[in-house]
Homo-oligomer: 237 residues x 2
DNA sequence: GCACACCGAAACATCCGAGGTCTCTGGAGG
DNA sequence: CCTCCAGAGACCTCGGATGTTTCGGTGTGC
């Protein structure tokens, strides 16, 4: 195993064992390199890798620190990973979101405080009557994020955040190509809000399911148009 | 932004744009470094970081390749991230698993083929009458993994795999400390298997819910013994 | 006494070049 | 046809030198 990978494990162990706590500063490069028995170059590779997944935070001119290691921070790194997936797997991601989003919405209906519910309502009102696609999408993301936060589970919230990435593109297409989508989205958001405000978890769950399933169904039909109007390239057999 | 981070984005873009396809080999270090306008040292840091999240695969003496980029591979990297979380957040992870596992089990009851169902049954029978904790745990992991695969959704499967990590320790404790846990686990596994074999998604979902919730409830009581059995974390005030 | 600008130390960022080690490949020999 | 073995190619590791940024102390002027 390359020395760099060993260094990654060593640093990881130092954190997990508690020798390095969140927020702690690491020894300077030269010092840590000598202690781990490798060169600064190789150590820098290890540090850079741990930086990418938000475990370490390097500040030039200052030092290298352990991040807070909070779930939202670490799972944010998953967004980077998810970006690599293209349209062929977006349905799989959406399917997972369809499982998590209703559950999160139901939890939000139970756990959300009145203040947060009020803010959620404000989000709905902020949207202009004829919003641009960009404004609608931004509002949509904030709306769902607020609900995810309201679930009270940071892991669930971060996971949903990451999953929103790949489906965002799909929603853009939808807004652009499907006429009634904008109005329908607003109606469903309002319904979800009402259910949460009334503290009705099952109703909230159902509306969320309907909401996500709508996107999923549309996307499924769009990605497999072969059944609708064949005749393009299907000359075989 | 440091040149290394720029390089990471450049390589990422090369992959996303399709210039580099899964399995493709990258230009040699010196060549790519010159092309991206940085030194080999800095480029190596970028490559190492992308290696950690399984986007690139470097083989000494051969070259650097783009991995298959399959969801299971990329989400496997999340296991590394999850390792950093300790017991204080394990309940949050378990709560997410409690959402996903029943859904996956229900999907498996619909989608699993007869061959896979047979293999699932074999897994149950393989376990000795008085298994060691290690054997039980290994069998448990394989059992749930098989079901996750049976859902037909690789993203869901990988996600559950990653979530199993943090809860594994908890299950070890449970097996060690709670007398009836072993027998109960076997009974519930059998029930889940029967429901899947009968292609009854709702029954399968319910058994899976019961199964995971059992661990969750036990863990919640163990971690917060002070409240006795209030059953909720609502420490409102 | 307080606020601001300056300056030096500390730490990371980047680069370069030199050996070392591993893997793949192709040819010689059996 | 199979096996063995050099050679080339590519990554691995190292050490040092130089540039950049940040932090904190210091001194000045108000």
């Amino acid at each position: 195993m390359p020395v760099t990978d060993v260094a990654i494990d060593k640093i990881k162990d130092m954190i997990i064992s508690g020798e390095l706590a969140p927020g702690d500063r690491l020894p300077k490069e030269a010092e840590l390199a000598q202690r781990l028995g490798l060169s600064r170059s190789s150590l820098r590779e290890a540090v850079k890798a741990l930086c990418l997944i938000r475990v370490l935070d390097v500040r030039q001119g200052d030092g290298t620190y352990v991040t807070s290691l909070e779930p939202n921070l670490l799972l944010d790194a998953m967004t980077f990973v998810v970006d690599f997936h293209r349209d062929d797997t977006v349905l799989d991601f959406l399917a997972v979101r369809r499982i998590l989003e209703p559950a999160a919405t139901a939890l939000a209906a139970v756990h959300m405080g009145e203040d947060d519910i009020t803010e959620l309502g404000i989000l709905l009102d902020e949207l202009a009557d004829a919003p641009t696609i960009e404004a609608l999408l931004a509002n949509d993301l904030r709306f769902h994020r607020k609900i995810a936060e309201g679930s009270g589970n940071p892991v669930l919230c971060s996971l949903l955040d990451s999953l929103s990435g790949p489906t965002t593109r799909a929603r853009i297409w939808r807004g652009l190509t499907q006429e009634g989508a904008v109005a329908r989205t607003r109606e469903q958001h309002a319904a979800i809000y009402e259910a949460i405000a009334a503290h009705e978890p099952e109703l909230a769950r159902s509306w969320a399911t309907v909401h996500v399933a709508g996107v999923e169904q549309w996307l499924r039909n769009t990605l497999t148009p072969s059944v609708a109007d064949a005749g393009s390239d299907a000359a075989a057999s």
